[in-house]
């Protein structure tokens, strides 16, 4: 664990800066829904709004985890855990999409006696 006893005031500035960044991020998310003139949700459709909202949330979460929870000091852990997580998410989502429409009784039908496609 790195030693924080010196340059605490520098760290305090960083925390406040990140806090402000988070507040700005929140306002962006709010904007996605609220202001009629830039009501992105209605203009660009749900998919883009979803991706934008989740992207902003991920960035905000990244700041909280990286700065407030000191994870930016533990790079090896971050790479391994995030790597495994992303691998698992992609794998499981991929599996879901691949197998989603595979319903028994649809698709090719096989003759039970001969085993050949009907």
């Amino acid at each position: 664990m790195s030693d924080h006893t010196h340059d605490i005031s520098k760290h305090r500035k960083i925390y406040i800066t990140v806090g402000v960044i988070l507040l700005i991020g929140t306002l962006c998310t709010f904007a996605l829904d609220h202001f009629d003139s830039i009501n992105l949700k209605k203009k660009v459709g749900m998919l883009v709004a979803t991706l934008a909202a989740l992207a902003i949330a991920t960035v905000k979460g990244g700041f909280v985890a990286g700065v407030f929870m000191h994870l930016s000091n533990e790079k090896k852990w971050v790479y391994w855990v995030m790597g495994i997580t992303i691998f698992c998410v992609l794998g499981l989502m991929g599996l879901t999409l691949w197998g989603m429409n595979d319903i028994p009784g649809q698709g090719h039908q096989f003759d039970l006696k001969t085993g050949l496609p009907k």
Binding site: L95, W98, G99, N101, D102, I103, P104
Partner: protein
Amino acid sequence: MHTATHTDVQHGTHEHGHEDIGFWRKYIFSTDHKVIGIQYGITSLAFLFLGFMLMLAMRWQIAKPGEPIPFFGPILAQIFGDVAAKGIISADLYNTFGAMHGTIMVFLAVVPLGFAAFGNYVVPLQIGAPDMAFPRVNMASFWAFFIGCVVMFASFFIPSGAAQFGWTSYSPGATTTPGDGQTYWLVAMILLITSSLLGAVNFIATIIQLRAPGMTWFRLPFFCWAQFVTAFLLLLAFPPLETAGLMQLMDKVLGTSFFLPTGLFVGGNPADISGGGSPLLWQHLFWFLGHPEVYVLILPAIGMVTEILANSTRKPIWGYKSMVYAVLVLGFISFIVWAHHMYLTGMGTKISTFFQATTMIISIPSVVLLTCLFMSLWGGSLRFHTHTLFALAFLPMFGIGGLTGLPLGFNFSDILLHDSYYVIAHFHYVVAPGTIFGLFAGVYYWYPKMTGRKMNETLGRIHFWLSLVFMNLVFMPMFAQGMAGMSRRMSDGGATYAESDGILGLSAATIQSNTAISHAAFALALAQIPFIINFFWSIKKGEKITSDNPWESTTLEWQTPTPPPHGNFEKPIEVFRGPYEYSVPGHPGDFVPQNEPHKKN
């Protein structure tokens, strides 16, 4: 060496604030891992007994449907009222007993005994630590468990009875069954899961942080590795069940529709719900825990068996490193096999093939573990204590259990075997003559360390041989019953289908074997009496041990006074060698404890 009693305190000059903390802080609200381990042990053994009794009542009903139970029948009628009228187990009560037998055995008996009881007692000793990393969290963990047990037990006595929709509690059935039994089940589960999560955090932190100097990862006894992986499984797999439990509780209490689909009819009337939920969601969340849970059931037992075999054969474990890698891989893969419990939910071949593949792959590390244990016997000089017998029997029993899992893991053969007696036979083989034999072995093995006396060998042998014979007589015929098409959870043992001999394929002979199985089950019950007598009698009258290390073991828990004092080791301990230095060539003795320094030339 010393055979200290509980009140005898061994401390050198080190002052540890060891004034008398009073009876309550010492034995009831203790933060000492050994006391907590024993508390878990007593509670889980009591529930093991209760779960066993439930099974006996069920087996009576299966063999003799509609006949009142002798002697216990009136007692049941008193406790349960209408559902046990005249001492006959009604279908509802059978379902209740079935659901609670499963729940109690898995969550209140086997896991707490294997993981929490033995783990808490032995792991800190084996790694050379003074206690667990978070003693007060440990105590909180036990009391959360205990209160969960009380709630689960109390559910039997509410007017509507305990949960009755299987230990798997599938929605919408479990939600729409009238009465509060399921609600109690859910509340109890949430408490038990919380307890397990806290325990898991404790174990992992302890094994990582509190290993004594010199205790490197590959000098850890395999039991600690098994507990380490088990703790990770509990940590990461239980929360989805907690989620599902909370959601089902909301369904029951607040009328939500998490698991209730649109258009649901209950008792012929449309249900007064919003609909839109998914029964499959429950199944996925349940089995996401459910599969790692079965590895939680088996791994502590495999760990114990490993320790005992190394000790009883007087030689190191063959392939220790392979076993470590195998158990780590097993833990990881156990998270991606869960849907093999769901082959019949209408999943397409793409997904079922994926889960079939991972299920086949997970058998590889299991086989590695079992093979290494078998190979460890080769060239060994076996000392046949009772614990040795149980550990040896574990191997083929677990082998049968594991091999019979293969037809269940394939999606096509599972179509026939799903929810049949084959499944019951398979998982009971792994848990009953498998894990429970491992746990019995652990009891006989570590009893002297906890009490200062050995259990009686004669009674132990009787217990072993009778249990082995009758376990097999109970469960082996069930494979045939399952393959013949007999469904599980039938409250009359399939008597309704007796007329269908030759027509529906369920032969009368299959159903008649119920009687033989039930007789074997009653005999199995009698076979436990020597154990129960032995367990209690030996506390005061067992053969006193003459050394702190009666089995001449290398691991650290045997290098302490008996029983170990608060703080475990009188002075800081250092480890110099691996865990299984038995019959080391050139060494004068036949074993070298882990903490014995290397001689300078």
